[in-house]
């Protein structure tokens, strides 16, 4: 470290009197690159910041892995809810009317750093709306299908591309495993919003495997489609109960999709942070090599100075 002062002088000069400092260095060096002391300092700061980032991404990955276990268990039981939900509709062979009015629920979350989760759902929503739009005039207007956005991120993306279609947006989603109370409140809001619909298309991310997810749609038919279904009369239900069943089915479906979307997001975040950590690790290796090379160059130059200075004194 005693050698540092001589190397530091050009760097100090370069900082205090930039033009003069640079020309002095330029006269000494064979190229017009900045003094080696300066690049050394630069590399050091870069190395320090990338090391910090690697620590952060590694810890985020650990957190996501631990959360994933709990989320996967919740997803398994929620899937059973979703399946049981469809029983009545399937057995009574309810079908959605062709060209029926659809209502879309886009499910994602508030937080980022999870790979392409939010854009996957929003892209699917845009695609669906375009399909409707090409069949019946323009879809992106207040006359088009209504969208209920769950989460800050999809809300932001949708408000840029389909702002007129958004009916209600929710936030504070994704902090913890969703509860049925959340799903019930959302379904209640949909029903009480007074919007007319024949079916609800819930767009969410389904958990395909530990490495991937895929956007999917769960269709929930309205009370009217259930009444019109051929096999429904065998159930012998009263008017009011059918309405209740349809609303409860909606809440069930929203619950199942919320929980699965949550699990898919945690999985994606774990993968994304894993990739980020390994990229940061590679960067650190490269920067280390550069730093050492630079450091050795500085030491060599100083040694040369000393030796030539000593030789000149002889």
């Amino acid at each position: 470290m005693a050698m540092l002062p001589r190397a530091a002088r050009p760097a100090v000069n370069a900082a205090v009197r930039p033009a003069i400092g640079n020309t002095i260095v330029a006269a000494r060096a064979f190229s017009s690159t900045p003094s080696q002391g300066a690049t050394l300092r630069e590399l050091e700061t870069r190395l320090k910041s990338v090391r910090n980032i690697e620590k952060i991404t590694k810890s985020m990955k650990m957190i996501a892995s631990t959360k994933l276990n709990k989320a996967q268990r919740a997803m398994a039981s929620a899937r059973a809810y979703g399946k049981a939900n469809q029983e009545v509709f399937e057995n009574s062979e309810a079908k959605s009317a062709e060209g029926g009015k659809a209502l879309f629920v886009v499910i994602s979350s508030d937080k980022g750093l999870c790979g392409g989760i939010h854009s996957s759902v929003v892209k699917r929503a845009k695609k669906e709306l375009q399909a409707i739009g090409s069949a019946a005039g323009s879809a992106d207007s207040t006359e088009g299908p209504a969208i209920f956005a769950l989460g800050e991120k999809p809300k932001a993306q949708l408000s840029r591309t389909l702002p007129k279609n958004i009916a209600v947006s929710f936030n504070q989603i994704g902090k913890d495993i969703p509860t049925f109370a959340d799903a019930s409140a959302i379904a209640d809001k949909i029903v009480s919003s007074g919007i007319n619909f024949d079916k609800v298309n819930i767009i969410y991310n389904s958990y395909v495997s530990a490495m991937s997810f895929e956007s999917a749609i769960m269709e929930v038919l309205s009370e009217q489609s259930l009444r019109d279904a051929p096999g429904f009369s065998t159930y012998e239900q009263e008017e009011d109960t059918t309405k209740d069943l349809a609303e409860f089915a909606l809440a069930n479906a929203i619950y199942a999709t919320l929980v699965e979307g949550h699990a898919a997001e945690i999985n994606a975040r774990r993968n994304a942070m894993d990739n980020a950590s390994s990229n940061a690790g590679d960067m650190i290796t490269n920067l280390n090599i550069q730093y050492n090379r630079s450091r050795q160059q500085v030491i060599t130059t100083q040694l040369i100075d000393i030796v030539t200075g000593a030789a000149a004194l002889d």
Binding site: V168, F170, A181, S184, I186, D188, K189, F248
Partner: protein, 66 residues
Amino acid sequence: MTQAAWRQFFSYNRYTAICGRATRSALKESERVKAERRGETSLRYQEWKDGKAGEQTSIKAQPKQQ
């Protein structure tokens, strides 16, 4: 029997949510703590009109209405 006087006020989902809350609060202490977690919701919502978000980022205050 006054069949479902609640129908004029709210939907079936809110009805079940209120009943669920009442049932949970009637449980024995240890079970109640476990069950309370199932009833927690911290959702907030915003109504949108014509591409503009409404000012009410209202908290889901419905659970508070008994």
